[in-house]
Symmetry: C2
Subunit: 119 residues, 2 copies
């Protein structure tokens, strides 16, 4: 019975684009991340991803459209769909996704985070 307070967890880290695990259930992870600037284009071949915006306004670019996700809104990005998160100002998000999910999906590089910390 793990209770998690989002505000308290967000105070524990400052880096951007570095998701932290705050919960695990049914093979899925709940992660918190701070986003600022533009991420890279990528897709996840096997995982759908949910982005819930806790604070700020997240712009999700797709190849054929752009979706702005505001506070208390969430967006589900289906597997296989290329996307690029962009945060003009810092955005705090909660993610729900399979424990197998790598942040940069099919594109490995300097923004790739593996072996995420649990906080």
């Amino acid at each position: 019975m793990v209770k998690v307070n989002l505000e308290e967890k967000f105070e524990l880290f400052t880096e951007h684009w570095s998701p932290k695990i705050v919960g695990a259930l049914n093979g899925q992870h709940v992660k918190l991340a701070k986003l600022k600037g533009a991420f890279i284009w990528h897709k996840h071949d096997n995982e759908d991803e949910l982005f819930f915006v806790v604070k700020g306004s997240l712009t999700m670019e797709f190849r054929n459209k752009v979706v702005v996700v505001d506070e208390n809104e969430f967006l589900i990005v289906p597997k296989g769909v290329e996307h690029r998160p962009v945060a003009d100002k810092e955005v705090l998000v909660m993610l729900f996704e399979p424990a197998t999910t790598i942040n940069t999906g099919n594109v490995k590089g300097e923004m790739t985070k593996e072996n995420l910390d649990t906080i």
Copy 2:
């Protein structure tokens, strides 16, 4: 790319203890529910459940303790653990759990909701 605004979805229903599906990913459902009063004791033999409190204060009773979950907090109830949600005042929650999850778990009765609406 389904974007969901929690406030708009909560305006679409009034009944208590009747979860609505607002998202699906990786075999899991995202549900919204309005809770008021005391639910029944039950457990889920095969599913962990996540309760995220959007508005209000949820009391989760376990056989050996009580956990109060406030706004912007979530609680994960592991499979097999008996629990009883209690809401002295109305509470709005977002649930994240496998699509197979029945609200009353192992206890079928008048509070059991099957074939949930997607809103």
